[in-house]
């Protein structure tokens, strides 16, 4: 069996944006949201898709799900054209938009699932089994009879993810699934996704701003910037290329002179708190051990690098400011 | 300051272009439909309600022109106030050192100013091209007086309509769902204001009811002033009725507002 699930070859997407400039004049601009994408995703892979705002992540997901038609290029999911075979493919995919719920706002959560059962024509046995699994793993039990509008963001996201998986899709697209969630919800969502991928072999493509998502879930990460894939590989490689740094935030018992620790550099000091940067590819464990041995600590935490910083360092500021927008007139 | 608020509101409404033209189109279509029903009726009864055919047709087009300007179907700029009441932002407004009733009147006046130039003028022009409309006429003095009185009547109509809508919006402090009261407001103001048919055409009992209600000051009065339906004394009397309603309703608005403030202070919104 062919192991390739998603094929993207030379895909571009451009929009014409009309803007009012002054009282009567209007300018017409062509914005290249996606400017030549090439990648493939194999069955069972869990791929992180990251990039700054406006880089083309959402546009890519919209093209893969058949919402948007590519301007040029070839795009296949399970051998089918997502736009032409939208309805058939929809049966085989699950989609979660982080910012926008697919649940029915004024109705209890249970009703949305019941409707999904009918829309996706899920056999009764499969439906019951999948719902039970989601309810258990995502702890949805007490929420089933609550109208969706009364759910917190984290509860709603868990509800949305469950709704996307009831019909056992082969591929799951997640657009910013952890944005705005509390720590507990984030952890629960990540664990659930990892487990679903492992047990079911569900292919997962997730866009995110949160490098922790990638770190805990994805063996492969694709970075998109200015509508192109600029990195495709493991997370370690990304950190190496981006020379990204994590930060140890050290809270000491009392105010001390700057800490000198091999492999780190002090970036900030404020009262009893000090910030030490170290390469993201290095392990934090030996550093923490050494710190704990040498100093009396009140608290210690590791801060992950921001995606924007990593990418910015990767390509340098000058190139980032180059305009993607070609003015036509 | 209120002039600046008014101007800003005017500018803001002038950005809703597509929506404005859509509304103008709808008003114009309804103008044509109503005109033909009026022609059919006035064909049978040529001087019904004290209007000749040309005055009756003009009545229709004034109505379509003023529907948006006087915000009969919606709350006009007060829709924003209603939203602020619903989501609690109004608490902030109430403790600012500006008079709420005046502030929102300025905002609504800016809206009305823009809609006078679009929603009111365009259907009137289209109606004027398709049918013979009646403008203020008579001696030069009559014409000037007619237009001046119309301008005054229109300004007063806007204030009365504003005062009514202010009351409707303020009910949001006590009611959760305003759809019911808005619908009641829409129906009564359309019907008793004379938007569907002049109240002079109503059966006597119904006309008496309409004349006792404030809605007449919103539309029937400015239309009659424009059409010179009554003599000078009658027109002055009608303007007096408008003024009286404006004072009473604005006063009532203040009373309700102070109640609302007390409610917010005591219950915290």
């Amino acid at each position: 069996m062919d192991q390739t699930l998603i094929e993207v070859e030379g895909v571009t997407k451009s929009f014409v944006v009309r803007r009012r400039a002054g009282r009567l004049r209007r300018t017409r601009e062509v914005v290249n949201a996606v400017a030549g994408l090439d990648f493939t995703v194999r069955r069972g892979e869990m791929v992180g898709y990251i990039g700054p705002n406006g880089a083309g992540k959402s546009t890519t997901v919209k093209m893969l799900t058949g919402i948007l038609l590519p301007s040029t290029g070839r795009l296949r999911v399970a051998g089918a054209d997502p736009v032409r075979d939208r309805v058939r493919l929809a049966q085989r995919m699950g989609v979660v938009f982080g910012q926008r719920t697919t649940l029915w706002w004024d109705l209890p959560l249970r009703d949305s699932y019941e409707l999904a059962r009918r829309i996706y024509r899920i056999p009764a046995g499969t439906y019951a089994r999948n719902l039970d699994r989601c309810v258990e793993l995502l702890e949805l039990g007490p929420l089933l009879d609550v109208p969706v509008r009364q759910l917190s963001l984290g509860q709603r996201m868990r509800g949305d993810i469950a709704a996307a998986l009831l019909h056992e899709p082969e591929v799951l697209y997640l657009d910013e699934p952890t944005i705005g969630l509390d720590v507990v919800s984030k952890r629960r969502v990540r664990e659930f996704l990892a487990q679903t991928n492992a047990e079911r072999g569900t292919t997962v493509l997730l866009t995110t701003h949160d490098l922790t998502d990638i770190e805990q879930l994805c063996s492969r990460v694709m970075v998109i910037d200015h509508g192109r894939v600029v990195y495709d590989g493991g997370l370690d490689g990304l950190h190496r290329q981006g020379r990204s740094e994590r930060t140890l935030v050290v809270d000491l018992e009392r105010e001390l002179p700057p800490i000198e620790l091999h492999g780190t550099r002090l970036v900030r000091r404020e009262g009893t708190r000090q910030w030490l940067a170290f390469p993201a590819s290095a392990s934090a464990a030996p550093l923490v051990a050494e710190l704990a041995g040498r100093y009396e600590l009140r608290d210690l935490s590791v801060r992950e690098p921001e995606i924007e910083d990593v990418i910015a360092r990767m390509y340098g500021e000058a190139e980032r400011t180059a305009a993607t927008v070609a003015r036509i007139g | 300051m209120y002039a600046a608020v008014c101007l800003r509101s005017f500018r803001r409404y002038s950005t809703y272009r597509a929506a404005t033209w859509a509304r103008v189109f709808t008003n114009t279509v309804f103008g044509f439909i109503l005109t033909y029903t009026y022609i059919a009726l006035w064909h049978v009864r040529p001087h019904l309600g004290g209007y000749d055919l040309s005055a009756a047709i003009t009545y229709v087009w004034i109505g379509q022109g003023l529907l948006s300007l006087l915000a009969v179907g919606d709350l006009g700029a007060l829709a924003d106030l209603q939203t602020r009441i619903a989501n609690g932002d109004v608490a902030v407004d109430l403790f600012r050192p500006v008079d709420q009733q005046r502030w929102w009147l300025a905002v609504d006046a800016g809206r009305a100013g823009y809609q006078l130039l679009t929603n009111a003028l365009v259907p009137m022009l289209v109606g004027g091209l398709a049918f013979h409309l009646r403008l203020p006429q008579g001696s030069a003095v009559d014409v000037v007086a007619g237009w001046a009185a119309t301008a005054l009547a229109l300004a007063l109509a806007l204030v009365v309509s504003y005062a009514l809508r202010y009351l409707v919006a303020l009910t949001g402090f006590w009611l959760l769902d305003l759809r019911g009261i808005q619908l009641v407001y829409y129906l009564t103001s359309c019907f008793f204001g004379g938007f569907f048919l002049p109240v002079t055409v109503f059966p006597p009992a119904l006309e008496a009811v309409a004349r006792a209600l404030p809605f007449i000051a919103v539309f029937q009065v400015p239309a009659d002033v424009f059409l010179q339906h009554d003599d000078a004394a009658g027109a002055l009397g009608a303007l007096g009725v408008q003024l009286a309603w404006a004072v009473v309703l604005l006063g009532l608005g203040r009373l309700v507002q102070s109640r609302a403030v007390r409610k917010v202070v005591v219950q915290g919104g």
Binding site: V87, T102 | W21, V44
Partner: protein, 283 residues
């Protein structure tokens, strides 16, 4: 470009119509249940709708206080037009009227969530926010229609019954098509949603009065343009035994099914065009 074309041809054939209708039914049932969860609010808004649509009839009655005929038609005859116009618009409004909120959905971007489900977007959007309270207009117009039928004494024949039944059915389809076609335009101009009201509510108001009162060009426009005349005017000429002000061939009075079919086809094409434009612009 080749992909755009094939989407229209290939995709449509595979859409399971029965499944689409069933899903529409489920969505509708969910909304009714949700509305009935607040019975007081439901009955109040329904009574409001009833009163709102009744106001038009009060205007007609007031007019008939001053005359025995409007454009040569008596009050029961005008009431027949009023009733049929209101019932057909009301039914169309119930089934697909909430689609006029599509402009809002386009602006919010919530159309996307509809497009990732394996059911035609039309079935999902038509069922969304289904409002049973709109039945108020049907009930009120139905009452006026019943009164007019009792007063008119139409000496019913099987053909008349058939024409009457087709009037209700085809009228609903024509108004429904106007709703769908108008909503499809929201894909191109989300802010101008109100234009649609001119053809639905404006059209229904026009059909409440006899065709004889309007300029002939306007009536011609409703026969050969937006074919609203086929909703009730033309069948009513036959049912009430009146002359055609345009002097059209008499088969026009029986042509409502044809007009309904044409309208539905045009609306379907418009919808597909709208959806295609959404796919290429995403807005």
């Amino acid at each position: 470009m080749a992909e755009t074309r094939s989407f229209v041809g290939g995709g449509a054939a595979r859409w399971d119509v029965v499944h689409a209708v069933r899903c529409y039914g489920h969505i509708v049932r969910m909304w009714i249940r949700a509305a009935l969860a607040y019975p007081a609010s439901f009955w109040m808004t329904m009574a409001g709708n009833l009163a709102a649509s009744g106001m038009d009839f009060v205007v007609i009655v007031v007019m008939f206080l001053h005359t025995h005929a409007l454009g040569g038609w008596s009050l029961p005859q005008v009431a027949f037009l009023y009733g049929t116009s209101g019932v057909t618009l009301g039914l169309a409004d119930i089934f697909v009227g909430s689609m006029d909120q599509l402009g809002v959905r386009v602006r919010e971007g919530s159309v996307d969530t509809v497009l990732v489900r394996p059911v035609p977007a039309l079935a999902q959007i038509a069922g969304d926010r289904f409002a049973l309270r709109r039945i108020g207009r049907v009930l009120q117009s139905g009452a006026v229609l019943t009164w007019s039928l009792l007063r008119l004494d139409l000496s019913w024949t099987p053909l008349k019954v058939l024409v009457f039944a087709s009037l209700v059915l085809c009228g609903t389809v024509i108004f429904g098509s106007v709703f769908v076609g108008g909503s499809a335009c929201h894909f191109f101009m989300a802010d101008a949603a109100e234009v649609q009201n001119s053809f639905t509510y404006g059209g229904a108001t026009m059909l409440q009065y006899p065709p004889t009162i309007y300029a002939r060009d306007i009536v011609r426009g409703t026969v050969f343009g937006v074919p609203l005349a086929f909703v009730n005017w033309l069948p009513a000429l036959y049912l009430l035994g009146r002359d055609d002000p345009l002097g059209l061939p008499s088969w026009f009075r029986f042509a409502s099914p044809l007009a309904a079919l044409l309208c539905a086809t045009a609306a379907g094409l418009l919808w597909r065009t709208g959806l295609r434009s959404y796919r290429s612009t995403g807005s």
